[in-house]
Amino acid sequence: MSAGAPQPHAVPQAQDERVLAVSDLRAWYQTRHFGVSREVRAVDGVSLQVARGEIYGLAGESSCGKSTLVKTIARAIRPPLHVVGGTVRFRFAGRERDIYALSQAELARMRWRHLSYILQGSMNVLNPVRRVRQSFVDFAYPHLDQPMPEFLALVEAHLARIRLDPAVLDSYPHALSGGMRQRVTIALASVCRPDFIIADEPTTALDVVVQKDVLGMLRAVQREIRSSMILVTHDIGVHAHVADRIGIMYAGRLVEEGPTRDVLRKARHPYTAHLVASLPRIGDDTPKQSLEGAPPNLADPPPGCRFHPRCPLATDICRKEAPPLIDVAAAHRAACWVTAPPAQHAAPGAAA
């Protein structure tokens, strides 16, 4: 990976370059309360891959399912949310394994050492009754196989390298500002130099100035330890800044995916086009049109393409059948009967 502008990848990705492969993943909430049964299809058939050292951005409006998707990928879901179909395969230490096939012991060994997580809204992610140092000990010490003094020295060196004052280790979480807490979380998630980091809305609760700082830190850390990352945020601006590839989610499904530049400049799916068009640009004062309607109720989604009730290009087939996600250019996929009809695709093989 060169430092600087993100490069597109050739498709299909060679197997040993691939760190994560999600295949037709389906995760639904299934509840029954007071005599009422409900099935919410939060993730409904998502397939994607992430290569080594790559930052994959996941975008979409609230309640499109992106947070649920990454939680499912990390096997961090609880009833009433269940995996109903599909697989999630990680490639760590040369072996590719389905995360849902691991035993509890293997899962615990893998966590934090190979797969770490930066949680959404990190206001409350550290134990409030213990000092920050204890969180590092709890999370990282079991994995790093060092005696305690060396371990603590390692942590302090890590903090210093990413320009965090090691004094923060002595504080209680509530004594730190939001931005500080987020930086600590990033440091915590990267101290074991994992192969994969999932960052769920890492900058959402912060003000713009702190956001820039934290994003910079995130990118620096990722480059230094060369981990792959899935970065989830609704803020397209963040993706433009940081992500190599970007995937757009709508109503539990991926509707477009590709290198960030391509997707943002040459959006194929009408939803993506709308998202990009609504980004404010300095000097541009044309009025922005808002989409009619609201995101669909995932307990009772519309038939066919889920976007069709709000889509200006909707045709008959859109209302009846869901469009497949197909290649429209190098490493660029979209799912739309109108702008990416299946007969048109040229690249060999459909996306895995």
């Binding site: 509840t31 309360h33 009422v36 409900r38 919410v40 009433p80 307990a299 009772d300």
Partner: protein
């Protein structure tokens, strides 16, 4: 609110069981209106008979039938508990809502006062109350005394609800759209406040009945009116246990325990209903 109760009855086992138990006790208490003996009369039946036909619960050493005495006792005890609960609701709801809605200095002052009444041990005060009044103490007076001392715990819970309602979005919307405060409270907030009032009423009844039983057993109330505690008092006066007249104590204890468990189950079921997480799980049940 009625639909809430109906739903709770239909879908929550605890509520159903609680309602049935409490209902049985209430029905039993209602029987007192058809009692063949006035409650104060003594020696209307042969004393000290064990439970058998026709005296299903046996008779006491004072020549009264345990069955009918107990139905009066339960009735009076329940009425007393209910009276205390209603009276203390007035104070608890007033303090809780005022404190929660107003906030600021009023809230701090009221809560300091509130916490005072939570900490102060009420039993010595009530005993002292009996001590100075002696024979002048009547049931209404005792109910008043208990109600004016026992509102604090519930006021805090109601205040918590008021606080959360105050900052909710739909409240701000109501204010901005020009609704008057009274309208907001009655139309928007009442559905949230009523369940907590119900919950605290059940709890308060349990508390006040427990206190009544304790005071009466010690003889610190008007022992001529039959209540559950007074029945046990008289049984102890006549050393019923030693004399082997266990039914004089067993049946009042059994019935009052059933009443407590019934009220408690009702409160618990209502509390689970109030819990916001279980509400969220329920909310998607609207028909498409």
């Amino acid at each position: 609110m009625l639909t809430v109760l109906r739903d709770l009855f239909r879908y929550r086992f605890e509520f159903r069981l609680g309602a049935i138990l409490t209902g049985c006790i209430v029905a039993f208490a209602a029987l007192s209106f058809v009692s063949p003996y006035p409650p104060q009369d003594q020696f209307v039946v042969p004393p000290d008979l064990p439970p058998s036909s026709p005296y299903w619960f046996g008779t006491t050493s004072r020549g009264q039938e345990v069955f009918w005495q107990l139905s009066f006792a339960i009735r009076n005890t329940m009425l007393f508990g209910f009276a205390v609960a209603i009276l203390s609701r007035l104070i608890a709801v007033a303090v809780g809502l005022w404190s929660g809605y107003r906030g600021g200095l009023a809230d701090r002052v009221l809560m300091s006062l509130n916490d005072t009444f939570i900490v102060i041990p009420l039993f010595p005060l009530l005993v002292l109350f009996y001590f100075v009044l002696r024979d002048n103490m009547s049931w209404p007076l005792l109910a008043l005394a208990m109600a004016s001392l026992g509102w604090a715990y519930d006021a805090r819970l109601i205040r918590a609800v008021a606080l959360s309602l105050k900052t909710r979005e739909f409240t701000q919307q109501g204010v901005f759209s020009g609704m008057r405060a009274s309208e907001i409270v009655t139309q928007e907030h009442l559905p949230y406040v009523l369940p907590i009032v119900f919950y605290t009423t059940m709890n308060n009844m349990t508390w006040s009945i427990g206190l009544e039983v304790t005071l009466s057993v010690l003889g610190f109330t008007n022992i001529d009116t039959p209540t559950v505690g007074v029945m046990i008092y008289w049984a102890n006066q006549h050393t019923a246990l030693v004399a082997g007249i266990w039914w004089w104590i067993a049946f009042p204890v059994l019935f009052v325990v059933i009443l407590f468990i019934g009220l408690f189950l009702l409160a618990v079921a209502m509390n689970e209903y109030i819990d916001p997480r279980s509400r969220l799980a329920r909310m998607g049940g609207a028909t498409p």
